[in-house]
């Protein structure tokens, strides 16, 4: 019985990669350039829209998996996703094309804005506007914290680890690396593979 169940699954798994990578390095670069130029307010939704819905380069399951890998690694979600998707489609060159594409528009804009801010940032109206922007940005980060907590925290202990991280950085000034390694190891050990779980899988 298990034979008949696994056979079609294996066949589709073997068939899928043949259908998908029809993207050239230039196409990858242009698509990520477009994402980099239009993704106001956070890259992830734009990535999904472009890679899953519009081009069909990856499916929804792959997208979620790649995103969770991107989140557990150092690096921004946007650039890690670019590396992962680029590699899947065209190997090293695909990764390079994707990350340059996604960074270029915002980088050029911040280069220009940075110069403008340095020369005119001390004017009363700019300072006032920027104060408002900074306050709003704090609200936006808090929103991201709430959103991520709902999605990826489970159980009391996850909240304890989160609180412990905040306290180590803000109150005890242990620094990000020591906190990351210390609390990270504790949390990973807490979520260690368990026998009982393996049985249910």
């Amino acid at each position: 019985m298990s034979d008949t169940a696994t056979k079609p699954a294996l066949e589709t798994a073997a068939a899928t990669p043949k259908v998908i990578p029809s993207a050239s390095v230039a196409q990858i670069f242009l698509e990520f350039l477009l994402i980099g130029a239009t993704s106001f307010g956070g890259v992830v939704p734009y990535l999904r829209n472009s890679l899953v819905t519009k081009t069909g380069w990856i499916n929804d399951k792959e997208f979620v998996e790649m995103l969770s890998i991107s989140q557990s690694l150092p690096g921004l979600n946007a650039t890690n996703m670019a590396i992962l998707v680029g590699d899947k489609l065209r190997g090293v060159l695909g990764s390079i094309a994707a990350i340059i594409g996604v960074c270029l528009p915002g980088g050029v804009l911040m280069y220009v804005l940075g110069i403008f801010y340095r020369d005119h940032g001390d004017r009363a109206w700019t300072t006032a506007g920027l104060k408002g922007v900074a306050a709003a940005a704090v609200g936006l980060i808090l929103f991201t914290v709430v959103q991520l907590s709902e999605k990826s925290l489970s159980g009391k202990f996850d909240f304890v680890f989160m609180a412990l991280t905040v306290i180590c950085v803000n109150r005890f000034h242990l620094g990000v690396p020591r906190t990351l390694i210390g609390v990270g190891i504790l949390a990973i050990l807490y979520h260690r593979p368990r026998r009982a779980k393996e049985g249910t899988q």
Binding site: F40, G41, P105, M110, V133, V138, G139, F143, A187, L189
Partner: protein, 175 residues
């Protein structure tokens, strides 16, 4: 004084701290760029970071401005490579290995263990930024309002941040 070696050192180090997002590295970013190297002031850092929230693309592109201030065009270029290079290579290698080790039981443990820590780092970054950004009742009220609006309505966050700019100009101008 040539700032290039320091820019490479600082930003490639910061690069490795951005687990779960750029904000995780904010406390160290502040210490190194403001207190140690004095490339900019804390207020300027907060302003640049906030401006960066309105720009498209990865939300830490404001590092380009810091590089430009410290060492011109070359500085900006160096900072981009130092900040995105190490994590890009790491993501590439770890991902390939990760795909092969799909059955490794610790894979799931690492992902689930790092989730609360990365959210904690994000929150820690938020608090350390709030120390400079929340200067009184008005700014505190604005931050809370933005949080509530985003929780309640499905709006593009960049628009809400822009609304913050307009509101700031209208209400926070020095009298």
């Amino acid at each position: 004084m040539n700032q290039i070696p320091a820019l490479i050192r600082v930003f490639s180090y910061l690069s490795l701290l951005t687990v779960g997002g750029g904000m995780a590295a904010f406390p160290e970013l502040k210490t190194l760029t403001v207190d140690v190297h004095k490339w900019l002031t804390f207020t300027q850092l907060i302003h640049l970071y906030s401006l960066g929230q309105m720009a498209p693309g990865p939300n830490m592109m404001m590092i380009v401005s810091i590089g430009q201030w410290a060492a011109g065009f070359v500085g900006a270029l160096v900072v981009v490579f130092a900040f995105f290079g190490p994590t890009a290579v790491l993501a590439f290698i770890v991902n390939r290995w990760w795909q092969r080790e799909e059955k490794w039981p610790w894979r799931d443990s690492i992902q689930r263990g790092l989730a609360p820590v990365s959210i904690g780092l994000l929150l820690a970054g938020c608090f350390s930024m709030a120390k400079g950004a929340i200067t009184g009742t008005e700014t505190a009220a604005m931050a809370v309002a933005v949080l509530l609006v985003l929780l309640r309505y499905k709006i593009n966050p960049a628009l809400v941040v822009m609304a913050g700019a307009v509101l700031g100009m209208l209400t926070l101008s020095p009298k």
